[in-house]
Symmetry: C2
Subunit: 339 residues, 2 copies
């Protein structure tokens, strides 16, 4: 598979490399129609495909970006990724995917590899352990957009849900349906931006709506311990009537518990979860959720990044909050009569 270069095309067409280059870059203005046609023909004949690596070297532009996220298997990330790729494809960018697994070492290696590959920009859901590295990029004015997480001490443009509002919607929905004892469950570590903010939103909302809460009603736990924590909660004398799941994985755990213990939803326990899950409409009862505008978040990040790459610095490190949307179904409703 010996590669055919611009030189081969030039020779065969009896013109110089520059002329072919002109042709390739659409600068037909000062070109004879016949040369144009000849070059076109030869290119087809030789099946010539320009080497973008060489082009990138010269132009210092790769039309490639890197996306660093925890794990593409998580639904939010999958959707965000798809949105990013869509926008990038429209604009002629390629995207390199990096699953950093919230592992700072891995994240660091990815960042360095991406830079070394001269990507034009990076979109990341950053861990908080590579702050200096990101800070370096940011200071160099390297195109950078964060998703879902805010890092201290640097104003990098960030796209994320209005997390406080999301939990506020949860509490509001449950309170509005007459539930007064509302607990919340979240994954640990509870230090990442969304988890932290969602808890804050809960606390504020509980106060605002005047519903009951106590320390035991806020459960932050690793996935594996959730069943035990749920058991403790539900067997306490002050058991809640309703439970908020701060993300899809947590909701799944709660549903497992519900199933094993044969609880009736919402009679025994009303539920609402942040993140729209695939089976919300299929489950019985259907599950009320707070949907994130995942597509908008991903697309927004990609659009902004591309603007930055193109030097249109319309955004100087703002935090962009996206609206959560309550999708009311039946797991959060108050059932007065037996059905």
């Amino acid at each position: 598979m010996k590669t055919v270069t611009i030189g081969d095309v030039a020779k065969r067409a009896g013109v110089s490399k520059s002329t072919v280059s002109q042709y390739l870059n659409g600068r037909y203005e000062y070109m004879a129609v016949e040369t144009k046609e000849r070059i076109k023909k030869i290119i087809a004949e030789l099946d010539y495909n320009p080497n973008k690596i060489a082009r990138s070297l010269k132009q210092k532009k790769t039309t490639t970006i890197g996306v660093i996220l925890a794990n593409i298997l998580y639904s939010f990330n999958t959707k965000v990724m798809r949105a990013i790729e869509d926008i990038c494809n429209e604009s002629g960018y390629h995207v390199i995917i990096c699953n950093a697994d919230d592992n700072p070492e891995k994240e660091k290696r990815y960042i360095e590899m991406l830079l070394s590959k001269q990507v034009d920009g990076i979109i990341a859901m950053p861990t908080s352990s590579n702050i200096e590295l990101y800070q370096k990029l940011w200071k160099r004015n390297f195109p950078l957009v964060f998703i879902d997480r805010i890092l201290p001490d640097m104003k990098v443009s960030t796209m994320l849900l209005d997390n406080e509002k999301a939990t506020k919607l949860c509490v509001g929905e449950l309170a509005g349906n007459g539930y007064e004892k509302i607990a919340i469950m979240t994954m640990t570590p509870a230090t990442s931006t969304p988890r932290r903010e969602r808890l804050v939103g809960y606390k504020k909302a509980v106060e605002e709506y005047g519903v009951y809460t106590n320390g035991d009603y806020v459960i932050a736990s690793p996935i594996k311990e959730m069943q035990i924590r749920l058991e403790n909660l539900m067997e306490s004398q002050n058991r809640p009537e309703a439970l908020i799941a701060t993300n899809d994985l947590t909701l799944m755990e709660i549903l497992k518990y519900v199933r094993v213990n044969n609880l009736k939803v919402p009679e025994d326990l009303a539920l609402i979860g942040i993140d729209e899950i695939s089976f919300a409409d299929i489950y019985t009862p259907s599950l009320s959720t707070i949907a994130q505008p995942t597509f908008e978040i991903g697309a927004g990040a990609a659009e902004l990044l591309i603007e930055k790459i193109n030097g249109k610095e319309l955004d100087k490190g703002n935090v962009h909050r996206f609206e959560p949307e309550l999708i009311r179904r039946f797991s959060s409703v108050k059932i007065e009569l037996d059905v």
Copy 2:
């Protein structure tokens, strides 16, 4: 952000570019320990990061591969992607993600862009409309591995499920539980490899197990028409006792129908689906499924591609079949007594 090059390091260290290059590539053999240390220090000082684009140009190797799939949002694809990226990361490869949406035009553009970017190899779930293009690559001996779909007239290494066996397992499980009227539902177009093979498997198995079937029991339909088709099927006088969903999306549609019509599973309709869905264990009743070894398929494709890139052509275009696994739960069981 003026970039620091190997030349800067060389100058500052008082050596030549060649020596720095040697250092970078770990050829310390003939290098004085002190030069080595000096270079090391300078590199740290200058925060030098080698430009892999330049390196790629010279070496004709980008350590990047492209993955072309229909849509990362589909669960099978997400998992396969994650597996590929894992293996690639271990081996120092980067992966560019391409959502072709089963659109031949898009697919073609992606292939050309990837080649133009000099990727070292491509993993694809190909449409059948770019056969000539793939054939060209294959003839050039360009590293290429397919997943999930077999294309005629070229022996490209392909990783996919033993699809016939998958539906055979479905029929076997249902028949073994005493169901005798077993229908199957698949998405159209039913021409892609897995859909075609799964139908074949069904037909063979129905014969083998001697259970009843007829033309109406094989439903191939676009997603949007499935509700109507299901209604027709279930309201016919010869309604099936059990239904096989050939993939997760189809199963979702069936579950919607079940919910709307308040059917009892498995009493009114037993179910089993190919693809392990996230809520199989949470749904009531739990859902029997045939799991694909998605991780193994993705990892296998990546490993083989990397071997090919490295010229270890251990595999000459074989078709690798992966074993489906029956996960028996309750939607396929025969209930004799009321519970």
